[in-house]
């Protein structure tokens, strides 16, 4: 590992002032992904700015029912928060579906959003990878791609975003608060994460030196009936093969409103707006749920090793919608 200087940030503006204009400076929060990437040689910062002491570690309720989640809130505290569990159960479930107890105790909300893909070629410095070293190529397109993208990928990158929490936040339309050299700004989910295009080295729309300070979860009255469902290769502690985050509002057998996002299928959490549009006003039946899923997945372009993901995510969505409809 390359030697690096360690600085403990005093507040967000000073952290940003330290990092801005210095691309080899990185922010450290829980470290569960970054420290591993440094050990693998994928991340080689010369300065680490520790933001774990400054980022707010609290979940606060504002007047209108909005929850303001500090970037420093540990994943385990977010999942256990009584307000989150009651109002946005899919968010608590998504966090609990990820990683292990120890890692959830370390990992923060801000770091969870900024974690990198687990594509095996990205994590292996002996292999080409356009995300790690732009212009070197993408062996995943013809190589080991069972766990990689079916939607929104490009010739240069077929990686998936690994976060479960981000999928729930995309469904909820969360708003990410960011501090930059020019002051604070907000970025609505799912717009934080990018599709790869011809710049796969950029995971998010954040500029160099920008720092996530909080995530705002706006009120969504029907999110009390919501679910995060994840399919993985073992019962626990594995990344998603596919996942769905769903909130459903059904009255008199008709879908009044819904929120749907997919995980494990794209370079970003995939908000399924096409499926949502099909469902609004439709009857809450498995036939309509399948029609919505198929409308969304019409855009899917599977890789040689992952065509199974299309029927898998379709079926998981239909089943999850049916379960939620039945419960209402």
């Amino acid at each position: 590992m390359r030697p690096f200087s360690y600085l403990r940030a005093q507040d967000a503006p000073s952290a940003v002032a330290t990092a801005t204009g210095r691309p080899e400076t990185m922010y450290l929060a829980g470290g569960t992904n970054l420290v591993d990437l440094m050990r693998l040689g994928v991340a080689v910062p010369d300065v680490l700015v520790d933001v774990s002491g400054i980022a707010s570690g609290t979940v606060e309720e504002t007047g209108d029912g909005t929850l303001l989640v500090g970037a420093g809130v540990r994943n385990s505290d977010l999942a256990a928060d009584p307000l989150v569990r009651r109002r946005q159960p899919l968010l608590s479930q998504a966090v609990l579906a990820g990683a292990s107890g120890q890692i959830r105790n370390m990992a923060t909300v801000g770091g969870n959003l900024m974690q990198r893909t687990r594509c095996p070629y990205f994590q292996d410095v002996t292999k080409p990878c356009n995300k790690r070293l732009p212009g070197t190529g993408c062996p995943a397109r013809t190589g080991e791609n069972r766990n990689l993208a079916i939607l929104g990928h490009s010739d240069s990158c077929v990686a998936t975003h690994p976060s479960d929490m981000a999928v729930a936040l995309a469904a909820l339309g969360a708003i990410v608060h960011v501090e930059g050299a020019d002051g604070p700004r907000t970025v609505p989910m799912p717009g934080l994460h990018r599709l790869p295009g011809d710049e796969p080295e950029r995971d998010t729309v954040l500029g160099q030196g920008e720092l996530i300070t909080a995530v705002e979860v706006p009120p969504l009255p029907f999110a009390g009936r919501s679910r995060y469902r994840k399919v993985r290769d073992r019962a626990s502690f594995a990344f998603a093969v596919v996942s769905v985050a769903v909130a459903l509002d059904v009255a008199d057998g008709i879908v009044r409103d819904c929120r749907i996002a997919f995980g494990g299928v794209a370079h970003a959490p995939w908000r399924a707006e096409t499926a949502e549009a099909v469902l609004r006003g439709a009857t809450a039946t498995e036939t309509e749920f399948a029609r919505a899923a198929e409308a969304e997945l019409a855009a899917a372009r599977p890789l040689p090793g992952n065509a199974f993901k299309i029927p898998l995510v379709r079926n998981v969505l239909v089943r999850t919608l049916a379960d939620l409809a039945e419960a209402s």
């Binding site: 690096f4 159960p89 579906a97 107890g101 105790n105 019962a235 626990s236």
Partner: protein
Amino acid sequence: MNGEAHITGPEAPSPITADLVLSVNGERYPITVDTRETLLDTLRERLGLTGAKKGCDHGQCGACTVLLDGRRVKSCLTLTVTLDGRRVVSVEGLADGDGLHPLQAAFIEHDAFQCGYCTPGQLCSAVGMLAEAAAGWPSAVTPETDAGVDLDEEEIRERMSGNLCRCGAYVNIVAAIGEVAR
């Protein structure tokens, strides 16, 4: 020079160090560390506390689990330089003198290990896990309707999924933890 091969790599970069005070098992240790040093390496190589084990060194196996300010964490992913003033408890700090921690006694009673390599991590993880359950934290298998947490086998298996046992002693590990949970 003169046909002699001199293979010289880039000069080894100098380490960057920092001073801090680390609390481990109730003892204060003023130390100077390389910023790259993990808590696992500090415990094992600097403080001689070799209970926490290096299994995968990537946060995937749980053999390095210790308690940090009462919460279970992976010491292989924790940089020591971040821990000034923090309290670490490793497996060496679980027993009360010669009196075993109830989980240690239960692991012996239930034959909850074979080679023993994962055991220190299993023990520290179980201590942290029981505190999490007592605080009412849910897991991925906790029913939404439940007010409290009933640590049945399914709950224990899910909550302990960050600790692998290559000998496959899971049946007895779950039984040992279950006995202490009840």
